[in-house]
């Protein structure tokens, strides 16, 4: 171990980091770490937790590994360290495999002092093999609340980190850090990390936050208030929505009224995400609209506002999410919208979404049993398991994480892949545990609702929930010294919003390499307007042809997006069963546009309805090679509109796209009446 006095350490601190002194609390932790001890640090964001491992890391001979779930944060930290001449790198899914391999090689040859990796990497063979050859000096578990199932953000991949920590030799220093841990989570982390761990818990108050709750009576009021007021708030910041569709809707709306907003979600590719993050760092947007679940871990000290359009699942979630703002200590605006109007059953509107996340967080028990039954027969990889059980990827992932957690199955490396194996003598599924977690989560959600209506200082409410101990008083909120915000809506804004809604059409994201198909457009989201109902009536309730308003809306969507382009023909997706709905629709569509309609796109074999398949692999298998075009010569060099009623996973559209590409189509534009929300493989 490395023995040094505080004075000696601070000389090195000055020369390496350009900082004069440690805070006492920092030095306490660093002293422990230098002596090979295990530490848990619970400190607010902006306290300077990173220095507590970065400094010791520079003093150790070998590498310090930092497990961190926040990719963007890794990137920023590495950049900052490299600027100080400390060799830091990261390994994560954002880099190419070649870049990750190079980083691993550099780690093995001792060229790296601090290595950031995502916990999921612990499942990667190459990484595990490489760990045998590295000279390792310290392990850091960042965002350690994610290792506790009682934490607000439990990540199954962190289970393996905990298992690893339990196996680490006694003399190895370990630091776990978090900004959000209740006493219960704290105890859980202490127990899991084990050994003789020392905990340092600091004051979690964020004094520079101005906290507001805006009570509204509709979604429109939130949108209109933002349009009216966002540009009056200083600086740049985030808007967090409850769903991915809403990130799109809010960002488009704000742009529509001239506010420089962009949506950022998990569906974007790494390059686009990086670009948005870079632009954000350079204050090129007024705001980034994202789902709160995404946790953009960007190290931007001057995020000036965070606005939630939906309540998070608990006060801890909320504390964590707003915690990303105002690290520079300057005044920061924190707003929560809440629609408390009640439905027929007396449930408040904005309570419903987070409640449904909790209720629907786990698939039904029968699906767990289905997975277990299949795995009792043979070991299966994720994809085959999805197909065998006919479950969505998301469902399978939740189920397998739970089953691994309960020791019923294990993930085993086969030569090129991973398979899940049922375990001898496995206990039967304990669904009681899920129920306990569900009840605990509902209780936390109820506490979040209480935050809306509390008369306490809002920061106090949050800190009490985190078991924070301080004798000082709280202020800076609409319950204390700040004027509450009220909503004023005028007809002009109501009209503008209506106008926006009628000209906003979802994009069909289908572009792939090697296909002549481009991203298309839908008239509406299925289920967020009356469009879905109308389609359903025609399709399943013998409601006759699709009503004309759907045709008008679809034409509008098409004209808005592709109106200035020339097309040669309209083809339509042939039905699974009999039925001429789409055909009749396409005939009308083509006649309005005065384009020839083709009936030559045909099924070559019987397929099942796509909707009975729960995942995109099975959907793809169902329709693979199922289409052909009767007169291929018609297709060559043509610009084609491909019509269908509902766009879900896109598998059918893509299949037809590649077939038409093969026959020489010049461009294929898919157009549908509706797009479902949250197709598989998001």
């Amino acid at each position: 171990m490395t023995n040094m006095t505080r004075q000696e350490a601070e000389i090195k601190l000055k020369s390496t980091f350009g900082i004069d002194h440690f805070y006492d609390e920092q030095w306490n932790a660093i002293d422990q770490i230098l002596n090979g001890n295990r530490m848990l640090m619970i400190q607010r964001t902006g306290f300077g937790k990173s220095l507590c491992y970065q400094f010791p890391a520079t003093q150790f001979k070998g590498i310090t590994i930092v497990f961190s779930p926040l990719i963007a944060l890794m990137r920023d930290q590495v950049k900052a360290l490299n600027n100080k001449g400390i060799s830091a790198r990261y390994i994560n899914s954002e880099q190419t495999p070649e870049e990750n391999t190079q980083t691993i090689q550099d780690a093995i040859s001792g060229k790296i002092k601090i290595l950031y990796i995502a916990p999921e990497r612990q499942e990667n063979r190459e990484w595990i093999e490489a760990t045998r050859k590295m000279n390792l000096s310290m392990i850091v578990v960042d965002e350690a609340h994610t290792i506790s199932v009682w934490g607000h953000d439990f990540r199954p991949a962190f289970r393996r980190i905990i298992n690893l920590v339990n196996l680490l030799p006694k003399h190895l220093p370990i630091l776990a850090t978090t900004a959000t841990a209740t006493k219960r989570v704290q105890t859980d982390i202490e127990r899991q990390i084990g050994g003789s761990i020392t905990t340092i818990r600091g004051d979690l108050r964020r004094k520079n936050f101005n906290l507001y709750v805006i009570k509204v009576s509709s979604e429109d009021e939130k949108m209109i208030w933002l349009a009216q007021n966002l540009n009056n708030i200083d600086g740049t910041g985030f808007i967090y929505t409850g769903t991915r569709v809403d990130t799109e809707v809010y960002a488009k709306w704000l742009k529509y009224v001239g506010i420089n907003a962009i949506d950022y979600n998990a569906g974007l590719d790494a390059d686009t995400r990086k670009e948005i993050e870079n632009n954000l760092m350079n204050n090129k947007y007024k705001c980034v609209v994202s789902t709160n679940a995404l946790g953009m871990g960007i190290d931007k000290p001057d995020v000036r506002f965070i606005i939630h359009t939906q309540i998070p699942e608990s006060p801890i979630h909320y504390y964590q999410e707003i915690g990303r703002a105002g690290r520079d200590g300057k005044p920061t605006t924190i707003i929560l919208f809440y629609n408390g109007s009640k439905d027929k059953e007396g449930i408040e509107e904005d309570f419903k979404l987070p409640k449904s996340f909790i209720e629907g967080g786990r698939p039904a028990i029968k699906y767990y049993e289905r997975v277990i039954e299949k795995l009792k027969i043979e070991p299966l990889g994720e994809r085959n398991l999805m197909k065998a059980c006919n479950l969505k990827q998301k469902q399978i992932r939740v189920i397998k994480a739970d089953l691994i957690e309960q020791g019923i199955i294990k993930e085993v490396s086969y030569s090129q892949s991973k398979k899940y194996e049922y375990q001898y003598n496995a206990k039967s599924l304990d669904a009681k545990l899920f129920e306990e977690l569900r009840i605990a989560k509902l209780k936390d959600l109820e506490a979040m609702r209480e935050y809306v209506y509390t008369e306490k200082p809002r920061m106090q409410f949050l800190c009490d929930f985190l078991d924070n101990e301080t004798s000082e008083s709280y202020n800076n909120c609409d319950n204390t010294n700040l004027t509450p915000i009220n909503i004023f809506i005028n007809q002009q804004w109501v009209d503008r919003l209506k106008e926006f809604r009628e000209t906003y059409f979802p994009i069909l994201d289908v572009e792939t390499k090697g296909s002549k198909m481009v991203n298309g457009v839908a008239a509406s989201y299925y289920g967020v307007s009356n469009v879905g109902n109308a389609i359903h009536r025609s399709k399943y309730d013998n409601g006759g042809d699709f009503p004309d308003f759907l045709l008008r809306l679809t034409l509008k969507a098409f004209r808005k997006t592709f109106g200035n382009q020339h097309f040669d023909m309209v083809v339509y997706v042939p039905p699974t069963h009999s039925g001429e709905l789409v055909k009749n629709f396409a005939v009308k569509f083509a006649s309005v546009l005065k384009l020839p309609i083709s009936h030559n796109l045909q099924k070559t074999r019987v397929t099942k309805e796509q909707k009975i398949y729960q995942n995109s692999y099975s959907k793809r298998d169902n329709i693979a090679g199922a289409f052909d075009y009767a007169k291929p010569e018609e297709i060559k060099d043509k610009r084609i509109i491909l019509l269908d009623d509902i766009f879900d996973s896109g598998a059918t559209i893509k299949e037809i796209g590649s077939m038409l590409t093969k026959y020489g189509a010049d461009v294929i534009v898919p157009v549908t009446i509706a797009k479902t929300v949250g197709g598989e493989l998001v």
Binding site: R132, L168, L172, G194, K376, S415, E421, Y422
Partner: protein
């Protein structure tokens, strides 16, 4: 406690130190009420009687402990068990048989409780003949009916038959791998059902990633013998794995049962009997009237005299057959030529033996 596993695995795979030495260190530490962690975390390895080089090696291992942590986590995560010699789960039979040479850790997958059951090993050639396979099937059947676990080495021939027969008769089986446990995917897949049902335990004592090799296959034999209370030999050549394994077992005074070969069968089974193994019939039952073992050379001589006195001359092979002598021809030849009671005459290329009658000399 799991943390110890890191230390166990690290010590087990420390090169160039004898297993017996490592076991002595462990015993020494435990007698002082210390754990393996104390052993590593103390400065001089508890002042154990170690050479300079050994201390160097152990210090090297100590610096690699963290690396072993990653490996152990990966193995446990995949459902492998790591059983240290001090664990209650460790095979008591193995420990009793191998004593200080017992492996420090066992890597297993499946029902580790099998290690506590009575067990038999069935060993034999990869190119086993029909009777060997039938014998193996019989022995496995009998063992299974008596709730004994069948231990085998997952080679072709007898090993494979032993495993499949044990499972056929609803018995349990231990597969002792000639390789690291994480390189056995195909077998794990093939016996998946039996593994998860608790009927098969896969076991390896080698570094988990080691591929199959001749050395490991040979080293594995002593584990097979060690894991079994009784050893049955279906078929052995005069060299190779089975032969050296059995010879080694006999040297260690293990009770080993060898199948009685048929007439003219090409195998070295009978040679093993000479070395002290017990003869069993095709059903695995001990042959009631043991022929060679209890018969001294003088007894054999007397029997031959009695035969020859009835008149006539015999080829050596005929004598052996008539008297059902289960001794090598070389030995029989020695008896026949060294005794003055027998007369040797040549007829062409064949040698005939008759009784030496001194009265004949009168003529």
């Amino acid at each position: 406690m799991n943390q110890e596993l890191t230390y166990w695995v690290a010590l087990a795979h420390t090169p160039k130190i004898w297993i017996s030495k490592k076991n002595e260190m462990i015993v020494f530490a435990f007698k002082q009420g210390k754990t393996i962690i104390d052993l590593f975390e103390s400065d001089n390895f508890l002042n154990f009687d170690l050479t300079q080089e050994e201390i160097l090696l152990l210090n090297q291992t100590k610096s690699e402990l963290i690396n072993y942590s990653f490996m152990v986590e990966d193995l446990l995560n995949q459902g492998y068990n790591i059983i240290p010699v001090t664990s209650e789960d460790y095979s008591p039979i193995l420990k009793a048989n191998l004593k200080y040479n017992t492996p420090l850790i066992l890597y297993t997958k499946g029902n580790k409780m099998i290690l506590k059951e009575k067990s038999i090993a069935i060993v034999g050639s990869r190119n086993a003949n029909e009777s060997s396979l039938l014998f193996t099937d019989n022995v496995a059947k009998k063992a299974s009916s008596e709730y004994k676990v069948v231990v085998s080495g997952f080679a072709k021939g007898v090993d494979k038959q032993a495993l499949d027969s044990a499972l056929k008769y609803q018995g349990q089986s231990i597969i002792v791998l000639p390789q690291g446990i994480s390189t056995f995917n195909s077998g794990m897949k093939k016996y998946y059902k039996q593994i998860i049902d608790g009927d098969v335990l896969v076991l390896s004592t080698f570094f988990p990633k080691s591929p199959w090799s001749v050395e490991l296959a040979m080293a594995r034999n002593s584990i097979i013998y060690g894991l079994a209370s009784e050893i049955y030999v279906a078929q052995s050549d005069e060299k190779g794995g089975t032969w050296s394994g059995v010879c080694d077992g006999l040297k260690k005074k293990r009770e080993i049962f060898v199948r009685q070969p048929a007439e003219k069968e090409k195998c070295a089974n009978l040679l093993l009997i000479d070395k002290g193994a017990k003869l069993v019939d095709i059903k695995g039952d001990v042959v009631k009237v043991p022929i060679t073992n209890s018969k001294s050379i003088s007894e054999i001589k007397e029997e031959i005299i009695l035969l020859l006195k009835q008149g006539g001359s015999y080829k050596m092979r005929d004598i052996k057959e008539k008297l059902q002598l289960n001794i090598p021809e070389k030995e029989l030849k020695k008896i026949l030529s060294e005794s003055s009671s027998f007369l040797k005459t040549k007829k062409g290329s064949t040698t005939l033996y008759s009784i030496f009658n001194p009265s004949m000399l009168l003529f």
